[in-house]
């Protein structure tokens, strides 16, 4: 099975390379053009979260991204060695509040959840694994 992977130090300066990799990998895996935007947006969130929040400021660490296609499914796995964090356990924000009562954060996980078919988390060997799966309808 063809798996496209990239691992980088979890630094802000490396985000651009990671974003470009995701875009090119989805194209290389022939993900439907109509679904790529949503997948990219979800993965942008996942990668940014790791770079900004997974590691304390005085600790270096890595972020890995692995993408594979099985039939009509793309599975993306984001891996880091940072502190345990399960985004799937994060409560959904109240998006009906008026602007003056709206918290300014917490929308990224909500966005990820709603952009992919499934979002799964597990921790193994001191690593956070966030698995984002997008399934699309077969045509023809």
């Amino acid at each position: 099975m063809n798996v496209l992977s990239l691992e980088k130090e979890a630094l802000r300066d490396n985000l651009e390379e990671l974003f470009v990799f995701v875009e090119q990998a989805l194209a290389s895996l022939n993900a439907p053009v109509s679904d790529r935007g949503k997948m990219m947006m979800a993965l942008d969130e996942a990668l940014t979260n790791v770079v900004l929040y997974a590691y304390p400021e005085d600790q270096r660490g890595t972020v890995g991204i692995h993408l594979r296609r099985d039939d009509n499914t793309i599975t993306a796995e984001v891996v880091d060695h940072g502190k345990p964090f399960d985004p799937t356990a994060h409560p959904a924000p109240d998006i009906t509040l008026p602007i003056e009562q709206r918290p300014i954060g917490g929308l990224g996980i909500h966005l990820m959840r709603n952009l992919v078919s499934s979002l799964r988390y597990y921790r193994k060997n001191g690593e956070n694994h966030l698995v984002l799966t997008t399934l699309w309808e077969k045509t023809g």
Partner: protein, 119 residues
């Protein structure tokens, strides 16, 4: 990423039109810059800001934080914050996060300027 021109301002009627020039709004530093700019406009007395996202193809939720902070500032100043030229993906992001209920969103800048001028 942060060295490119992020936005260009233009005065149109009574509206400050902010053209966001980046194709990708993903960088936290860019988000800080845009937050300061939009909030600064309201602090300086601008009563209506229209943000043109027509060049933007990818946008992170860090920028939704920017827009909410600017929206709060607009509310404090009894001013308006509106958006136009959203791509379908960004429109979907706005809808998922409930931002479509918080802000005036227009198809394009002519539509926006026509309607904002009458408000």
């Amino acid at each position: 990423m942060s060295d490119a021109i992020l936005f260009i301002d233009e005065n149109r009627q009574d509206v400050k039109l902010v053209h966001v020039m980046a194709q990708r709004l993903l960088d936290p530093q860019q988000a800080d810059t845009l937050t300061r700019h939009l909030c600064g406009l309201f602090d300086s007395g601008v009563l209506c800001v229209l943000v043109d996202l027509g060049s933007v193809q990818r946008l992170s939720s860090i920028f939704f934080r920017t827009f909410i902070m600017a929206g709060k500032k607009a509310g404090e100043k009894k001013a308006k914050l509106a958006f136009c030229n959203l791509s379908s993906n960004i429109q979907e992001g706005f809808a998922i996060t409930g931002l479509t209920d918080l802000f005036l969103i227009y198809k394009n800048e002519n539509d926006a300027l026509g309607k904002l001028a009458g408000k």
